[in-house]
């Protein structure tokens, strides 16, 4: 693959090392208290919980398995996985940003400030940043941006520059611009409504980043097409990358094998569990879904 910056040489604290992928994460099932829960637009909600450790120790790219409340109409049975949107260990806070799509997220949307809910986590393997990287590109769409926001902050905290390409249907559904802006990221907003989200345009932006030396690593989440685009460019330009994937889950703990996806590993197809071997994977091994 000839990658100039190898993901195998990352710092141990956030490495998706074989060890981290095999050893259980230090997860716990804790009771969080809702301290804020607002609508960001018609579909997206922002949930802020006060929760005991280890919840607020979660890292960018990790996720929680949330017990969604029952309502008169919706009675979700299984938990629902949600990426960490922000963790604040000092204040014991974890935050989620989610899209209301079905039974589970409708149940979740019903919870009121002051109520408690169970959250299992932190789960899975988060993003890694190569210590040699100076500048990264994150490319996300929809709620996928929520997953990338804490990564951008982690990068900034290490002095790594961030270019954030934020794709959305309309200006109203671009998430987390403020989060990316606050860390001084270069922000490119691309929209369906003005045609700028067209893959050809996104490709032009990515190539420009690479040409300007601002792309030591690629990161993506939230769109199959954008993942494929970034993967193709990453291969062509020898830029390593990571992708945060999703899959229906049950346990979240690597036990049930519900959540497998196929990966292309040295010519072979290999099934891996998104919950415990991911949800963050090497971009070059990911397969379209």
């Amino acid at each position: 693959m000839g990658q100039t910056i190898s993901l195998q040489t990352v710092s141990p604290d956030d490495a998706p090392s074989p060890a981290a992928a095999v050893l259980p994460a230090p997860a716990a099932d804790v009771l969080g208290v809702v301290v804020s829960h607002v609508w960001l637009n018609d579909e997206y909600r922002h949930l802020v919980l006060e929760a005991p450790e280890p919840a607020p120790l979660a890292r960018a790219g990790q996720f929680f398995n949330l017990e969604c409340p029952h309502t008169a109409e919706d009675k979700p049975y299984l938990r629902r996985p949600m990426s960490l949107y922000r963790a604040d260990p000092a204040n014991g806070i974890v935050e989620f940003l989610y899209k209301v799509t079905g039974v589970g997220t409708r149940g979740l949307a019903s919870i009121k400030v002051g109520r408690t809910m169970r959250l299992l986590g932190p789960l899975g393997v988060g993003f890694s940043i190569d210590p040699a990287a100076r500048s990264i590109v994150v490319l996300g769409r929809g709620v996928g941006l929520a997953t990338l926001a804490p990564l951008a902050e982690l990068a900034a905290s290490r002095g790594v520059a961030v270019t954030a390409i934020l794709s959305a249907r309309t200006p109203a559904t671009v998430m987390s611009v403020d989060r990316f802006a606050a860390i001084g990221a270069r922000i490119e907003i691309v929209l369906d409504s003005d045609g700028s989200s067209d893959p050809a345009n996104v490709e032009r932006i990515l190539r420009a980043c690479a040409a300007e030396g601002r792309a030591d690593a690629f990161y993506t989440c939230g769109s199959n097409r954008l993942m494929l685009l970034m993967q193709r460019l990453g291969r062509e330009l020898s830029i390593p990358g990571e992708v945060a994937l999703e899959q229906q889950m049950a346990c979240g703990l690597g036990m049930c094998f519900c959540c497998v996806r196929n990966f292309s590993v040295g010519g072979d197809i290999e099934a891996r569990r998104v919950c415990s071997e991911g949800p963050v994977f090497r971009l070059d091994e990911a397969m379209p879904w």
């Binding site: 259980p24 994460a25 230090p26 997860a27 716990a28 099932d29 017990e67 409340p69 029952h70 009675k75 979700p76 049975y77 299984l78 938990r79 039974v103 919870i111 109520r115 408690t116 809910m117 169970r118 299992l120 899959q247 229906q248 889950m249 049950a250 346990c251 979240g252 703990l253 690597g254 036990m255 049930c256 094998f257 519900c258 959540c259 497998v260 996806r261 099934a271 415990s276």
Partner: protein
Amino acid sequence: MVDARTDSHVPALGGGGDAAAVDSRVRIGDLVLRNPVMPASGTFAEGLAPVVPFERLGALVTKTVTPELRGGNPTPRVCEVGQGMLNSIGIPSKGLDYFVAHTVPFYRQFSTPLVASISAPSADAFAAGVEKLAVPGVAVIEANISCPNIEEDGKAFAMDPRPTAQVVARMRRATTLPLWVKLSPNTGDIASVARAAADAGADALVVGNTILAMSIDIETFRPRLGNVMGGLSGPGLKPILVRMTYQCARAVSIPIIGCGGIATAADAIEYMLAGASAVQVGTATFVRPTAMLSVIDGLAAFCARKGIARVADLTGALHDTDMKVEAHDHDHDHMSEAVS
């Protein structure tokens, strides 16, 4: 917010007794478990260790392993159906050699007995597999015979007494380890299958596996599982598998381990009254990872309140023969307030 999915709503299971004084131990053949609660195969693995102290469980049960490497089924492998789920995991397996080399050693750090679940496509393969499992750290073999039998056109062994007897007899000759046989509810006559397994040398029966089911997305006209059909698990199984536990307990004299929809101590008690000596908790662990701990504590609390010295005394304690007699003995205004 109390959650009905896993909290018991039986009024005060505990209270009014010293739960610590209750003897929680149960005996399955020659094996004594510290309590009757263990995970169900396929719903438990190393990943639960940070959340549940494995030393508190009655036993540990691994995901079914097959002799050879297997890939499992296409995704989606899971879908929610009401208060329950379907799965079509298949049995992805790294094979028995990997299992013996990596999985068994991991569990040796715990004193809790390890139950190794195994499956194979023929009686011979089952026997060969069982032989390989005779390694330190494996305390019990659980034979998952709900899998297709290639010698019977892919019909599951556990569907009929005859193939059940054959495969269990072959395994019995191949091992001196305790042999538990896990039955399938996808049969019309579980009692006959249970008898066949017991007669062929099983030391205990697990009753039972998931029920074959299907769910369709009416918007897309597609099955909601990649494999079209899959196994139903969760609370909806309970009344069916309590019935099968009851039927099996009356049909055989070896211990029964109840399984299917157990989420609370009340559920476990129902199985034990029906005749189970121990129970397995499956899907409930996905919903509440600490569910097994609540079941363990709730069983002791219930016995304490009822003045029952040993949890094991619940096994088969159902009053089922004297129904009509007692209905008249009793002066119970059971529909209204009784005149004291």
